[in-house]
Symmetry: C2
Subunit: 535 residues, 2 copies
C-alpha cells in the first residue's frame, strides 16, 4: 500500500529507491505555509548519471517490446494511479488544488495513459509507408522502400507545478514517451514531491511487474537550475518535455542547443489566450459571456496554460452588461489558494503591474473566502484599445493566476486585426459569435490560426479534451516546437523519427513493414489500408 | 525563350527582374577556370528586405489557393524547366557535371515537382483529424474537435552546389514549401547563378501566368555569410531549408535560434555513409562488391551527400579480392571535374589528411582522364580496425568527393558493433549480405537504425528514389532535424504546423474539415477514411 503514511522521501533510480541526496527539502502546504513530511533528497550528479545511464541501457530492450506489452504497462500505471491510497489528499496538501479538481485531473491522467495504450495498439503512429520495388524498371530498377517511425531514445520529463498529475510524473509527456518506446527520466517538480513519490512508485512497480528493463523509468528530485540543465545536457538524453514558465523553458532550450549533439526540447510556455467577442454575440448574450468568462478565469485559480487573460469586446452598451455580469460573478466567488507562495507573490506582482497602467480600471476583485498563505485574489480589469496598444507589452504578458483584462474596441472589423497582428504566439484563441458575425469572423479566423494552436468557438479555452484531434501547442513563445502538440494522441510524434529500409530482405524488416502484416493502417503504393500487400 | 544567350544577370524579387546589386560576381567554369558571362549582382539588405517582405504579404493569399491551383502551378514549373533551352549546357558549364547526369537530375527535379502536385491534390498531407462532439455527455459536453496542418509562412531556401537543379532554385525544398502553401525566397548558390536565373525565370513566369501574388517567389544572389544570416534572421521568414556543409548549416541554425522568434532550420549536412560487408556476401561476391563500391564512389565524382566513404569488410582473403576489383575499377576510370576549384582544393586536403595517417595504405587512384582546373582524383584507401579506431575522428570525417576507405575488421560480430557505437549520425548506412548473414545482420540493423535515416540492403546509398517511402534525413550531424526528411513526399511536413478548431460552425471550418468533404483521407472518430462524416 502506498498511502501518505508510507511516504519515504525517495527517488526512483532504475528500480532502486534512493533516499540519500545532496541536501534535502520538504513540500510546503500553500494554504498554511507549513512544511510537509517527509524530507526529500535533491539529486546530485551521480544520481542523474545513474538514472540517465540506466535509461540508455534500457532503451534497446524497451523499444523492442511488443505493442501489447507497452499497452499493458501503460494500463497498469493507470490502474495503479486510480488505486493509489492517499494520492488525492497528498496532491491537495502540496498544491492547494480543490479536491474535486484533483479527482478530475486524476481521471484525465489515467484516461490519457489508457488512450496511449490504444495508440500503441492501433500502430498507425508509426507512420508506415511502403513503395514497392520494380526490378524490371529501366534504365534503373526501382528499389523497394519502406519506412516507419522509431523512438528517439531516453526522454527527460520535467513535472509541472500546475498539474501535479496530468503534466507531471505520469503525465502526458511520460505517457507519450513510454508509448513511443522511449525510457523516461522524470525530474519531479519540487512543489509536489510526495505526489511524485506516490506516482513514481506506481510506475516503478509496473516496470518491475511487467519485467521491463529497470532503467525504463527513473525519477529524481531537486529544484536547482543546474540540475535541470545537467539533465538536459546529459549525453544519454535524446529529447525533453517541459511545461512551465518562459524563462525556465528557454533556459532548457538553450542548454539543449549547446550540447555537442543538440536535442529537441518540447517546451510549453506562456500564453494569454485572447478572447474575441463579436457584436452579435455581445448583443444577444452579454451577461452569459461575462459570467462564463469569470467561470473560466476562476478554473484552477487561473493557473492553467489556457486561462483567458485578455478579452476584446466591442465598446457597445452591452459591454457594460458583460462587465457587470462578470463583476457580479466575481463578487459571489471566493478567493483561493495558489500552488505555491512564490506563485502567489508573482501573481500579486503581475496584478500590480496591470493595475499601475494609467487607463486601466479595476472592475472587481474576489477578496473573501480564503485565508491561504498562497492566496489568490481573482481580479477583473478593463481598459480601452488605445491604452492597450500603448502598453501592449505589459498588458499582453501572461500573469499566471485568476486575472483577466477586458479591452473595449471601437471598430471590430479593424481593431481585432490590429490586435491579432501584434499578438505573440498563443496556445488558444477564442471567439464568441452568432451567425450574423460569421462574415467578420471568417477573416479573423484566417489571422488567428497563424497565431494560435487551437481556436475555440463559443466556448472557453480552459478544459482540454484529450483525443485524436486536439492540439495543445502553438507558435513561439506559446511553445518551442509549434509543429507539435503536448496533449492528444499526436503528442507521441514528438519522440519519434523516421527510418527507411531499402530492398530489405523480409526477415530483416520490422514486422509492421512486412507484406503480410495486417491490422495497422499504412500507406502502400499511394493507398491507405490496413491489409496485407499483394493480398 | 530563355537560352544561355538570354541570360541577363538578374535576381527575381516579387516579379521584378533586378540587375543592380552590392557588387557583382561571375560563375567560374570549373573545368577551365574561366569566368562565365554575365555578371550577377549580390543582394544587399534592401533586396533581401524587399523579397522577404513581399513573401510575407503574399502568404495570406498564396496559402488560400486551392489544391488545384497549387498543383497546376507546380506542374507549370516542371514543364518550364523541361522546356528551358540551354539549361543543361549552362549547368554543365557552371558545375562540370556530366551532361547525362544533368539530364537525369533535370528529370528528377521535374518529376519531384509533379510528385508534389500530386501530394497537394491527394490532400492527406494536411493530417486531417476529427473527433465529433457529444453535447449530451455528462458531466461535461464533449466538444467537437478537428485539426489540420497549415503552412508556416515564407520559407528561405538555400541552393546547394552539388545539385544545381534538384536541391536548388526549384529543388526539393522549394517544391515542398510551395506545395505546403509557403512563399519561397531562394538564395541561389553562387556557383551556378546562370542555372539559377534560368530556373528562377521559369518560376517567376509561372507565378505570373497563374495569377499568384508576386511575392510567392523571389530569388536573390550573393555569397557572403552575412547575407545568409540576414536572410535567416529576417522577421518575415518562418523556416529554412539548406543542404550543404556542416559549418555553414550550423551557422544558419545558430542564426535562427538567436532570433527573437526562433524558427526551424532543416539543414542536411555531413555524412560518410558507412557500408558493412558481411562474411557470406564477401565470400560469394567480393569482386562484384568491389566494383560496385567504386561505381558508387565515382557517381557524381563523389559529390553526393550519400557517397559511401567508409567500408567495413571482414579481414578474409576475399577482402583482398574486393580491394583488387575496386582497384581495377579505379584504374579503368577517369579523373573528373569537381563543382568548383575550392571544392577540389578541399578534396585534395581531405585526401591528404587520410593519407597522412600511419597505417592507412593507398590502394589506387584514378589519375588519367581529366585536365580540369577543379580536378578530382578518385582515391581508394585501406586500413585495419585498430588504425581506424586510433584515428577515428579524421578517418570518419566526410571528405566531399570520390574517396573511400576500406577498413578490415577481424570479428564481424564484435567489431561492427564497436564501429557503429562510435558513429555520428548518418544519412545512410548500407549492408552487403547473404541469407547466411541475416542472423548477424539483425543485430546490426537494430543498432544502425538508431544512427542512420536510410538503411540500404545489397545496394549502394547513392541514387535516391523520390517517393512516399523514402527518407533522406538522419540523426545529427547528418541533419539538424532528425524527425524530418528533405526528400520524398514527407518533406512537405517540415513546413506545416497543426491548428485545431473546437466547436467551429460549419461555415467557419476549412473545407477539408467539414462533415461533407470527400476524397481526402482523414482520421475521424478513430477510423481512417476518405468519405463524408455521418454519410
Amino acid at each position: 500500500m502506498s498511502g501518505i503514511g508510507d511516504l519515504q522521501g525517495t527517488m526512483f533510480i532504475a528500480g532502486e529507491r534512493v533516499t540519500d541526496g545532496e541536501g534535502f527539502f520538504r513540500a510546503i502546504d500553500p494554504a498554511t505555509g507549513t512544511e510537509l513530511e517527509p524530507a526529500y533528497p535533491a539529486a546530485g550528479d551521480a544520481h542523474l548519471d545513474a538514472a540517465a545511464g540506466a535509461a540508455a541501457r534500457a532503451f534497446g530492450d524497451y523499444r523492442r517490446t511488443s505493442a501489447e506489452e507497452r499497452a499493458a504497462f501503460l494500463r497498469s500505471i493507470a490502474d495503479g494511479i486510480d488505486a493509489a491510497p492517499g494520492l488525492v489528499e497528498r496532491v491537495h496538501a502540496e498544491s492547494g488544488i480543490a479536491i474535486e479538481r484533483i479527482e478530475a485531473e486524476r481521471t484525465r491522467t489515467t484516461n490519457q495513459l489508457r488512450l496511449f495504450a490504444d495508440v500503441v495498439l492501433d500502430g498507425s503512429y508509426q507512420g508506415l509507408r511502403i513503395d514497392s520495388g520494380d526490378p524490371t524498371r529501366t534504365p534503373l530498377p526501382k528499389p523497394d522502400l519502406r519506412h516507419r517511425f522509431i523512438p528517439l531514445g531516453p526522454v527527460a520529463v520535467f513535472g509541472a507545478s500546475n498539474f501535479p498529475l496530468a503534466f507531471s510524473v505520469a503525465g502526458g509527456d511520460t505517457a507519450a514517451a513510454l508509448a513511443a518506446g522511449c525510457p523516461v527520466v522524470v525530474k519531479a517538480h519540487e512543489a509536489h514531491p510526495g505526489t511524485s513519490e506516490i506516482v513514481g512508485r506506481v510506475i516503478a512497480d509496473a516496470v518491475q511487474a511487467h519485467g521491463l528493463p529497470a532503467g525504463t523509468f527513473s525519477m529524481i528530485h531537486g529544484s536547482s537550475p543546474e540540475l535541470a540543465v545537467a539533465l538536459v545536457r546529459h549525453p544519454a538524453i535524446a529529447a525533453v518535455g517541459f511545461t512551465g514558465s518562459r524563462r525556465a523553458g528557454l533556459a532548457l532550450v538553450a542548454a539543449a542547443q549547446s550540447r555537442p549533439i543538440p536535442i529537441p526540447v518540447f517546451a510549453e510556455m506562456a500564453s494569454v489566450n485572447p478572447v474575441f467577442v463579436f457584436p452579435g454575440a455581445l448583443e444577444s448574450r452579454a451577461a452569459e459571456i461575462g459570467g462564463g468568462l469569470i467561470w473560466s478565469v476562476l478554473t484552477g485559480m487561473g493557473q492553467l496554460c489556457t486561462s483567458p487573460g485578455l478579452v476584446f469586446v466591442p465598446d457597445n452598451p452591452e459591454a457594460t452588461t458583460l462587465l457587470e455580469a462578470a463583476a457580479a460573478a466575481l463578487d459571489t466567488a471566493d478567493a483561493g489558494c495558489m500552488l505555491t507562495p512564490r506563485i502567489a507573490a508573482s501573481f500579486d506582482e503581475g496584478v500590480a503591474r496591470i493595475s499601475a497602467v494609467p487607463g486601466v480600471r479595476l472592475v472587481a476583485r474576489a477578496t473573501e473566502g480564503s485565508d491561504a498563505v498562497a492566496r489568490c485574489t481573482p481580479t477583473l480589469f478593463e481598459t480601452d484599445l488605445s491604452t492597450f496598444l500603448a502598453h501592449r507589452e505589459v498588458l499582453s504578458a501572461e500573469v499566471f493566476g485568476s486575472v483577466t483584462l477586458v479591452v473595449r474596441v471601437n471598430d471590430v472589423s479593424v481593431d481585432f486585426d490590429t490586435v491579432v497582428d501584434g499578438l505573440e504566439g498563443q496556445l488558444t484563441a477564442s471567439l464568441q459569435l452568432e451567425p450574423e458575425d460569421h462574415g467578420l469572423a471568417g477573416e479573423l479566423v484566417d489571422r488567428l490560426e497563424l497565431v494560435a494552436g487551437r481556436l475555440v468557438f463559443n466556448g472557453w479555452s480552459t478544459g482540454l479534451e484529450v483525443n485524436d484531434a486536439v492540439i495543445h501547442g502553438g507558435p513561439f513563445p506559446a511553445t518551442s516546437a509549434p509543429s507539435t502538440t503536448s496533449v492528444g494522441t499526436r503528442a507521441i510524434g514528438r519522440f519519434l523519427r523516421p527510418v527507411a529500409y531499402q530492398n530489405a530482405p523480409a526477415d530483416l524488416l520490422p514486422d509492421a513493414l512486412r507484406d503480410a502484416a495486417v491490422g495497422t493502417w499504412r500507406r502502400a503504393d499511394g493507398r491507405f489500408g490496413d491489409g496485407a500487400i499483394g493480398a
